[in-house]
């Protein structure tokens, strides 16, 4: 009899474990789908913003340096777009330095207007999926970073330096000694935000 009770108890424990596994499976599937949908929405939003600024680039006579875009209830000030063919990145660059902006696209961190002389820094998250700066560590010397501002001016920048630095070190944001040089610095977090990965590129 004791053996049968033991067997029943073991079965109950097993049943509880199986139920927990099923609940964990449901939660995992829900999280996976939510994360996937979130990424799709981000991408849709970024594409929508790019379409809006493309219209501005084609139509504008005033050549504004920024444009407020209201797309699907999200309102951002857009200053241009970036394309890096090597890592399949094509994103708008936003002026707002806010959490929401970072979740939506790439953000200008510091520096002059796009495609002007000086060092302009562009920051972006590196989510585990999709676009943004997750692959900028694949860029090497002479890879091309293409920046288009709202006046339609497109300039190719060529990578000349990249590396990792402490989050407290902002030397990569410094302006160049040559005031006529056009530099773009791409920045993203690494090691859980403790360090920064940066890529510097300059116009030739």
């Amino acid at each position: 009899m004791k053996g049968i009770f033991n067997k029943i108890n073991k079965e109950k424990i097993m049943n509880v474990i199986i139920v927990l596994i099923i609940i964990a499976l449901y939660v995992s599937v829900a999280l996976f789908i939510y994360s996937n949908f979130r990424e799709r929405k981000r991408q849709e939003l970024a594409n929508g913003i790019i379409n809006e600024i493309d219209k501005t680039i084609k139509d504008n006579d005033n050549k504004p340096s920024e444009k407020v875009v209201n797309y699907q209830g999200y309102k951002y000030t857009v200053i241009g777009k970036i394309r890096i063919k090597k890592i399949n990145l094509y994103q708008p660059i936003l002026k707002e330095n806010t959490k929401g902006a970072y979740n939506t696209a790439l953000v200008k961190m510091s520096g002059p207007n796009l495609n002007e002389n000086g060092n302009v820094a562009i920051g972006g998250h590196n989510f585990m999926r999709g676009n943004y700066f997750i692959k900028i560590n694949k860029l090497v010397k002479n890879d091309v970073v293409e920046i288009t501002d709202l006046s339609g001016r497109k300039i190719n920048y060529y990578v000349y330096e990249y590396g990792v630095t402490s989050k407290d070190d902002a030397s990569y944001l410094a302006q160049p000694s040559n005031p006529n040089q056009k530099i773009v610095t791409l920045v993203t977090c690494t090691k859980g935000g403790k360090e920064r990965y940066y890529v510097k590129a300059r116009a030739k």
Partner: protein
């Protein structure tokens, strides 16, 4: 205890069968719901997703 004594375990077996049916149904529901949501749920759920 008599070695030949019979023990009726039919209730336990029936409960186990029901439990296994519950497990299989849960997994099937998970797969079906998951696939339906993944392929057709985006437009429906889009307003509730924060970027």
């Amino acid at each position: 205890m008599n070695d030949m004594q019979m023990i009726d375990v039919s209730d336990t077996v029936e409960k186990k069968d029901k439990f296994m049916i519950f497990v299989y149904v849960s997994i099937i529901v998970l797969v079906v719901l998951g696939l339906l949501t993944y392929f057709f749920g985006y437009d429906l759920l889009k307003p509730f997703i924060e970027v």
